[in-house]
């Protein structure tokens, strides 16, 4: 019991405590495998799902939280993929009657819809798990240490830092307008919105100039030097290696074959 308790404590925050580089590389590899696997190999997707689910058990985030957050993002994918079964040309599978209109659903379209939904659904699950276990600054730091383009990281980092400041400024402008607007002269409101957008742009521009000055005064010359605060440990290597081995097993069909081996009286094993 004591060993199990210790094991539970040490693995409870395993994903959170990993170096962001290990997480980025492993998660990216999983997403790549998900995307490149043909949809006809549906058993593989079950295994990918189990893999993501097992990763969740090694983090502080609960499965419920992950699914809740995923559900927020799924409608966006659904909105994009919804028309695919009707637009993709091919063998007609059936018809959908909406009032006077009759829409043909093709086999190819239905497969493509399934393809988009399953792959993006799994990718979103993994993305949600990644964002729940890694802070955004750590994620950026990880990307930087993996030698991702510095300019891209700098822009993303500024966006992350100032998006809330901008939203706050926009809110203040809207509030100021609302306090002096009493619901008349509707047409003029477009002009007012134009002024507000222009004002916001000028403020942003001026702020950008001041920020640049602040950077230059602290020695900025085009590159942001990276202060190494992360160190790869054996846990990171083990985690990454385990993920790669599992992915190789799934992609090669080895894990599926192992699952199909019939061992007498090993019902649980067969059930997997």
């Amino acid at each position: 019991m004591r060993v199990i308790a210790i094991l539970m404590i040490t693995t409870n925050r395993l994903v959170e405590n990993l170096d962001p580089r290990a997480k980025i590389v492993s998660f990216l590899a999983i997403i790549l495998c998900i995307i490149l696997t043909p949809i006809t190999r549906y058993k593989d997707f079950e295994l990918y799902f189990l893999l993501i689910l097992s990763l969740t058990f090694f983090s502080e985030t609960t499965v419920g939280q992950i699914f809740k957050r995923t559900c927020v993002l799924i409608p966006f994918i659904l909105a994009m993929a919804l028309f695919v079964p009707f637009l993709k040309e091919g063998q007609v599978w059936g018809y959908l009657n909406v009032g006077y209109w009759k829409f043909a659903v093709t086999y190819e379209g239905a497969w493509m819809f399934l393809n988009v939904m399953v792959k993006s659904g799994l990718s979103i699950l993994l993305f949600v798990l990644a964002s729940s276990t890694t802070t955004f600054p750590d994620f950026l730091k990880g990307l930087d240490m993996l030698r991702a383009p510095r300019l891209l990281i700098m822009l993303t980092s500024f966006m992350y830092r100032y998006i809330f400041v901008l939203i706050e400024e926009a809110r203040r402008l809207i509030r100021a307008r609302d306090m002096r607007y009493f619901g008349r002269r509707y047409k003029e409101q477009f002009l007012v919105v134009g002024y507000m957008v222009g004002g916001l742009f000028i403020r942003t521009f001026e702020r950008a100039e001041r920020i640049y000055s602040a950077m230059v005064l602290r020695g900025f010359s085009g590159e942001i030097p990276c202060v190494k605060r992360f160190r790869l440990s054996y846990k990171d290597f083990l985690f990454t290696a385990a993920i790669f081995i599992l992915l190789t097993g799934i992609v090669s069909g080895l894990i599926y074959k192992i699952g199909c081996i019939k061992i007498p009286d090993a019902r649980v094993w067969i059930g997997l």
Binding site: T135, F136, P137, L140, S157, F158, Y160, R161, Y162, F164, V165, R207, R210, I211, S213, A214, M215, V216, L217, R218, G219, F220, S221, I224, P225, C226, V227, K228, R229
Partner: protein
Amino acid sequence: MDRIIKVHNLNYRYPDGTVGLKDVNFEVVAGETMVIIGANGTGKSTLFMNLMGVLDGTGRIEINGIVLNRSNLKEIRRGMGMVFQSPDDQLFCPTVMDDVSFGPANLGWSSEGIITASQKALLLVGLEGYGARTSYHLSFGEKKRAAIATILSMNPNILLLDEPTSGLDPRSTSKFVNILYTLKAQGKTLLIVTHDIFLAQEVADRVLVFSEEKRPIAVGGYKEILADTELLLKNNLVHQHRHRHDALIHEHEHRHGYLHEH
């Protein structure tokens, strides 16, 4: 006495032709705290931008014995740091630690040196343990202190502080004044732009008054300058106002935060 900053005949015009600074002359002694006071728009912040080489005025600026020009800006900026009026302009990195370590990292220090200096700076401003926090989530007072830490981590011997106490509540102001006392005790040269007479009274060794003609009109010890009511009135640093003491309503010049006798 070692004069660490010498400004001679400094003039600056904005691109649209507006005068920013006119015939500015003054000197700062090493280790002293000079508070520059003046009404809004008198060129105090413009002076700082010229001292840091962000704006390019005419005249002669000598800092740490080096005459400021385009070629030695980096050298000048190694020994002199400026804290902007708005901390949101100063704190541009995702976390406080990233911001505080930005300067030392650009100076080419080792990772250990950067982390030690950053932690020391955060400790000095009372923000130890705030390294991983996002700057956006800090209170205004904390942001101001984090902003000063971004400069302290570079260990400059001259600090330029632009309106350091504006927008701060009394407790945050008091914390800030404590930080300034510590810096004074460390022998740093401080140049503080403000129109907060209370701050000038608290920390200044000497006070430089900027007039609405965009040039210094008086310089001297803080007691001497702050006692010159006529000078302060003329330069919009104190104003006449009415106020009430129970039944008595009377009018006199008012200095915000400055003790006055009735």
